[in-house]
């Protein structure tokens, strides 16, 4: 069950000839796959391409109707290997993942795929997670395209172009027997736009036909001597074929005047930003009518030499707008022009920054720098550029810089991972700080305040693997953390198997929240939900025992902080050798609320008994030390000022977004914090008997209260 339902978007996938699609970029790309007659789709979820996976998962009935096989791959490596169906057969296939993280994982299969080449169109949709909002290392997928000779598309972030390029990618792949990557940046994936749709195509050659008519061609297999031939074939046959296709089908675009002294060569993904900067410089209108010629590379690898030469000749200088580093395209252009002795000056990273996202301001400054140097007359009377610096330099705004607090992402309200790290912090207080090897997933938020736990993160499912060197005698054991997502992605073999085999003496904490939560709550092998189309409910504990782990503890309720703490302490101090594995399981609260809340509301409205719970803080008893917050960081546990003249500091307070997960009470007990926390339970639609009992109870207690309060002067302490 993914984080949101795509029922409405599934309807958009059915749009036919001449209709209009309105929606998100990544969903337009999904539709383009179906319009291209794709036979199979796979991939691994992750921002920004999760929605492609989610909508196809929700569209399974329609996929069956079309004869398209869709699966959620175990990892990007699995997805890349899946494309091997297109090696021998004229079958179109597409896979998707987040890059460069996913491309790194996939690279083994990708290299093999690219070496032998393909027969049917093989397309990889890569969500380039670069710049603001990115959660991964900042690298370029371009390097992968170059090293394996996989063609790389970078379409303009405009829906018709994106859709067209995906369709062309299959053709290009087939024309050149080479897999093609279509790169879409985060904002391109999430851009809302529109395009005219076409009918979806059923695959012309099906997987079933292939299975029933197997083909093998030893020349496609990566083994000497074929592998030597592959390299030659890439350069001598497939490359020229690709260049011809790109040129003949005009995949790259030219805008602006034919004749000019300067020009801009840009990655397709940079187009909208370039137009906006040119507009601000008075050199374009809002509709893309530019006075500076643009050569837009919707295909950034390979380059089409003749097109470059024809664009550059007659120009004294061109500038390359190429995001990320190293500046592969700029380097290639230099080689290309030098070899032909064309003396057009090439500008690029001299006016643009080498590293970092090309934001609007960067774009403006870079282009201005280029034009000032090479075509100052074009700038004319220079309309004033948007400039926030007077405001930013004012003392009021300068003062604000020290006021606005950072707001990094963190655990959601009621997250079951919070008590795990609260317990780790308590163990730290007893046994001292330990080296903690972290992993990829929501649990990585532990590295931020208030927990401040975790030293490194080396990759998905590699947390315990990254602790493997620390397998020496020591008074402190190494702790590693891994999520259920990472566990099934790679962790079972690379981390658990490795630790068992090498008799690793560390502690391994597997955070099992029933979903691949960080990527949008997709099901995985150990998900507890029944899923008609997938085999779920496969136990992590069984799996680790299956590879030979002996010391394994399962905690079925992570909110039991004391148990969590005691188990961790035991793991860190036991005499037993070999990996100590703790599987801590509780359902992701975001998904649980989405699943359970409507059911509870329905039950209450139907008159069934429903228990409503919430936690609270007695403000009279809270002393405003905030120790509870330092062990929680829950968004619903906050602070508030009270109008008590005897108090200086704000007290803790729980707002009405509390989901009564129980963490506050457990932490208060386990850490022996304070008695301010309470849980209030209200039983809605109670039975007569329950009501009678409650009434009886209340009347006795009220009597006792009246008696003990009689003759005393009691004052409300606060009037907050």
């Amino acid at each position: 069950m993914a984080e949101r339902s795509f029922a409405r978007e599934v309807e958009d996938l059915r749009l036919g000839d001449g209709q209009e699609f309105r929606g998100e970029g990544i969903l337009a790309i999904t539709k383009a796959l179906l319009q291209s007659g794709v036979s199979y789709v796979g991939g691994y979820q992750g921002s920004p391409i999760s929605h492609l996976m989610d909508v196809l998962a929700d569209a399974s009935d329609y996929m069956a109707e079309l004869g398209v096989h869709f699966e959620s791959s175990a990892s990007e490596a699995t997805a890349a290997a899946m494309l091997s169906a297109s090696v021998m057969y004229p079958i179109r296939g597409a896979v998707t993942w987040k890059s460069t993280a996913g491309t790194n994982v996939a690279s083994d299969a990708l290299s093999n795929l690219a070496s032998g080449g393909v027969n049917g169109g093989a397309v990889i949709i890569i969500g380039e997670d670069y710049g603001e909002g990115s959660s991964i290392m900042q690298e370029r997928s371009h390097a992968y395209a170059m090293k394996s000779q996989i063609w790389l598309m970078d379409p303009r972030p405009d829906l018709p172009t994106m859709v067209n390029m995906v369709e062309k990618a299959f053709e290009l792949s087939e024309a050149s027997n080479t897999p093609v990557m279509v790169e879409v940046r985060i904002r391109g994936c999430h851009v809302h736009g529109r395009f005219k749709t076409k009918d979806n195509k059923k695959p012309s050659y099906t997987l079933r036909e292939a299975l029933e008519n197997p083909v093998r061609d030893v020349n496609r297999i990566v083994l000497p001597p074929a592998s030597f031939t592959h390299e030659k074939h890439k350069v001598e046959k497939r490359w020229p074929a690709a260049v011809n296709f790109i040129r003949d089908h005009r995949l790259n675009e030219l805008f602006g005047p034919d004749e000019a002294d300067v020009g801009i060569i840009l990655q397709g993904g940079m187009y909208n930003g370039v137009i906006r900067a040119l507009q601000q410089l008075g050199l374009s209108d809002a509709y893309g009518n530019t006075r500076v010629p643009l050569y837009v590379l919707n295909v950034t690898y390979p380059l089409v030499d003749e097109e470059v030469v024809s664009f550059c000749s007659g120009k004294s200088a061109i500038v390359v707008v190429e995001e990320g580093q190293p500046e592969f395209i700029e380097q290639a252009l230099n080689t290309l022009l030098r070899r032909r002795d064309i003396n057009t000056r090439i500008s690029g990273k001299d006016v643009f920054p080498m590293a970092g996202e090309y934001t609007a301001t960067v774009m403006q400054k870079g282009l201005l720098g280029f034009l000032e140097r090479h075509a100052p007359r074009l700038l004319g009377n220079r309309p004033p550029l948007p400039d926030p610096s007077p405001v930013l330099n004012s003392w009021q705004v300068q003062a604000l810089a020290n006021v606005v607090p950072p707001r990094p992402p963190g655990f959601c309200t009621g997250c079951p991972e919070r008590p795990i790290f609260a317990a780790m912090k308590l163990v730290e207080q007893e046994l001292g700080q330990h080296h903690v090897s972290a992993d990829i997933g929501c649990h990585l938020f532990s590295i931020l305040p208030p927990f401040n736990i975790g030293a490194t993160t080396m990759g998905y499912g590699l947390g315990p693997a990254a602790a493997s060197a620390f397998n020496v005698k020591s008074d402190k054991r190494v702790i590693s953390v891994m999520g259920d997502g990472g566990f099934w992605h790679n962790g079972l073999s690379s981390s658990v198997g490795n630790a068992v085999f090498n008799k690793h003496d560390g502690v391994m904490l597997i955070v099992d929240n029933y979903y691949s939560s960080a990527t949008g709550g997709q099901d995985i092998l150990s998900s507890r939900a029944e899923n008609k189309k997938r085999a779920t409910n496969n136990s992590i504990v069984d799996a680790v025992k299956g590879v030979g782990a002996k010391w394994v503890r399962q905690i079925d309720h992570t909110y039991d902080v004391a148990k969590m703490r005691d188990t961790l302490r035991e793991a860190l101090t036991t005499e037993e050798q070999g990996p100590k594995i703790i599987v801590a399981s509780s359902e992701c609260m975001l998904n649980k609320q989405r699943r359970v809340k409507p059911l509870i509301d329905k039950a209450e409205n139907a008159g069934e008994p429903v228990l409503r719970q919430r936690f609270g803080v007695d403000e009279d008893i809270c002393t405003g030390d905030h120790a509870c917050i330092r062990l929680s960081g829950c968004p619903s546990l906050s602070v508030k000022h009270v109008d008590d003249p005897l108090r200086d500091d704000p007290v803790a307070a729980i707002d009405n977004t509390c989901v009564a997960c129980g963490n506050c009470g457990e932490v208060a007990e386990a850490a022996i914090l304070c008695p301010s926390f309470y849980r209030a339970d209200v039983l809605r639609n109670a039975s007569r008997w329950e009501r009678f009992k409650a009434k009886l109870r209340t009347s006795v207690i009220s009597f006792l209260q009246r008696r003990r309060e009689k003759g005393r002067h009691l004052f409300a302490r606060v009037s907050a």
Binding site: N381, P386, R407, L646, R697
Partner: protein, 508 residues
């Protein structure tokens, strides 16, 4: 050489700053829909990713009508200094938008909610670390062309909807988009769930945008100053009120709260004891030139002596937990009505708490015997959940609260009283030499708070701060240094900042 052939149409640009989970995406979709319904081209983008998990995130929208059948080319991210409307779903996010240069006085309409959702950095400090809302107010005043600010979170809650609705209403009401109200409402109406509540939230937002263009943001950090009432409703209380009035004005508000606290905590006699202590301190204050210092010493004492006398103990907690007023308050908060209400208290007594309830003489002996202490701790130290709204749970706390009668004879009281007296002695001895330092010594009591370990940490910080007294005694700015030490002690849990500050003091 301006080229007249280039059209100067500019897209309208809107940036939304929200926190993950606030529904910024819904608002963004609504804005796109209303533009498209009016025949414009609109484009929205976002970088949600992991920022969705409670972090700060931004949505960006541009819109422009097509021209001669040509669609506009719209940017995927805002240009600082080039944004028409900024919508912030929380006050500090408005601050962040200003810091990012998105709000400029030549063009930007800033629509912000004035409510606060505190960041972890603000909440986790042991003391007060809430960001100053007036700083945002001041910056918005010079950065924005126009500001629409009100508590949209409150509006949303009142109407039973989400914050997107009043924000959409405020945008519609601002007139920043050239579309009529009906087309905004039509967009909401196609939404499906919760349409009615959303429309009401929208209407509220709309009304507050047009009727009040530059409202004074309801964002003040200062606590309201409470006056002294004419009467407390009974003669015996009013007699004490007269004594409060006789104190310097600067001390009266705290002294009234203090005497009420002491009476509420123990009894009328305890209130008198408090007043007597305070009056004695005031007399000393007067002799040592208190008038010239605005009786700051007495004012500080009024607050902190009350806290010292009404120390947080087991009896007090039990007493507060079973009061009728508390049951009523929680019932109202839970909207329990006639439905059965249960309360679970999370308590974790240790040996120390049990021993603190022994008569002072026994208590002293037992505390001095570590073996016995360990045995008692072994017996009692565990999690206990008390259900105070059941008879059994109520009776347990009732019994504990009933020990109030003997409180003054118990071990904890003896410890607290000794502690208070040595603290007050230090203060009064310092008073003749360094008035402001003596006031600082009184104020140091602020560091003692919490229960168990937290309480122990507070005590240790208190002792460490006061250890600087001899070093500061002869300094005119000794009191100011004491204040600095106190705020350093409130910066982190273990007092690392305090250690640094103490080092500085040693090198003065």
């Amino acid at each position: 050489m301006f080229d007249a052939s280039i059209s100067r149409d500019k897209p309208l640009s809107i940036a939304i700053l929200a926190m993950g989970g606030q529904g910024g995406g819904v608002l963004s979709d609504w804005i796109v829909a209303v533009a498209e319904a009016n025949g414009w081209h609109a484009q929205s983008t976002s970088v949600p990713g992991v920022a969705q998990r409670t972090g700060a995130t931004i949505y960006y929208i541009e819109m422009l009508p097509p021209k001669d059948g040509h669609a506009p080319v719209l940017a995927l991210m805002p240009t600082p200094g080039d944004v028409d409307v900024v919508i912030a779903a929380e006050l500090m996010e408005a601050g962040r938008s200003i810091l990012r240069g998105l709000v400029t006085p030549d063009r930007t309409l800033l629509i912000t909610s004035t409510h606060r959702a505190y960041a972890v950095a603000e909440k986790e400090k042991p003391g007060e670390a809430i960001a100053d809302p007036q700083a945002v107010n001041a910056a918005a005043g010079i950065a924005a062309r126009r500001v629409i600010a009100f508590d949209k979170d409150e509006v949303a809650r009142e109407e039973g909807t989400v914050i997107s609705a009043p924000m959409f209403g405020a945008l519609a009401g601002s007139g920043a988009l050239p579309f009529d109200r009906a087309s905004f409402e039509a967009v909401i109406s196609t939404g499906g769930r919760g349409v009615k509540a959303s429309l009401k939230g929208f209407a509220q937002g709309y009304a507050r945008a047009t009727s009040n263009e530059l409202p004074q943001a309801r964002i003040t950090k200062a606590k309201p100053v409470q006056g002294i009432p004419g009467s407390l409703g009974s003669d015996e209380l009013d007699r004490r009120l007269i004594r409060v009035r006789a104190l310097p004005e600067a001390a009266q508000v705290a002294a009234l709260a203090g005497v009420k606290r002491a009476i509420d905590y123990q009894d009328l006699a305890y209130g008198d004891e408090y007043l007597a202590r305070l009056e004695a301190l005031k007399a000393l204050d007067e002799t040592h030139g208190g008038a010239a210092h605005g009786f700051a010493f007495t004012a500080a004492a009024a607050k902190h002596v009350a806290n010292a006398m009404a120390y947080d103990d087991v009896i007090g907690v039990a007493d507060l937990k079973i009061r009728s007023a508390r049951f009523a308050r929680i019932g109202a908060e839970m909207k329990a009505g006639g439905d059965p209400l249960l309360l679970t208290e999370f308590v974790h007594p240790r040996g120390e708490e049990v021993v603190s309830l022994l008569p002072a003489r026994w208590g002293r002996k037992v505390s001095a015997n570590p073996k016995l202490m360990a045995r008692i701790d072994w017996l009692v130290n565990r999690d206990r959940r008390i259900e105070t709204a059941t008879l059994w749970g109520f009776l347990q706390f009732n019994a504990l609260a009933g020990l109030r009668r003997w409180r003054r004879k118990l071990q904890r009281h003896a410890v607290e009283t000794r502690h208070m007296e040595s603290w007050l002695t230090l203060a009064t001895r310092t008073l003749p030499e360094n008035y402001d330092l003596a006031r600082g010594i009184i104020a140091t009591r602020r560091l003692i708070k919490g229960y168990s370990d937290t309480h122990a940490r507070g005590l240790s910080k208190f002792d460490r701060v006061l250890s600087a007294t001899p070093l500061l005694l002869r300094r005119a700015d000794g009191g100011a240094w004491m204040d600095r030490l106190i705020s350093a002690a409130l910066k982190d849990e273990n007092g690392d900042a305090l250690d640094g500050a103490l080092n500085t003091v040693r090198q003065l």
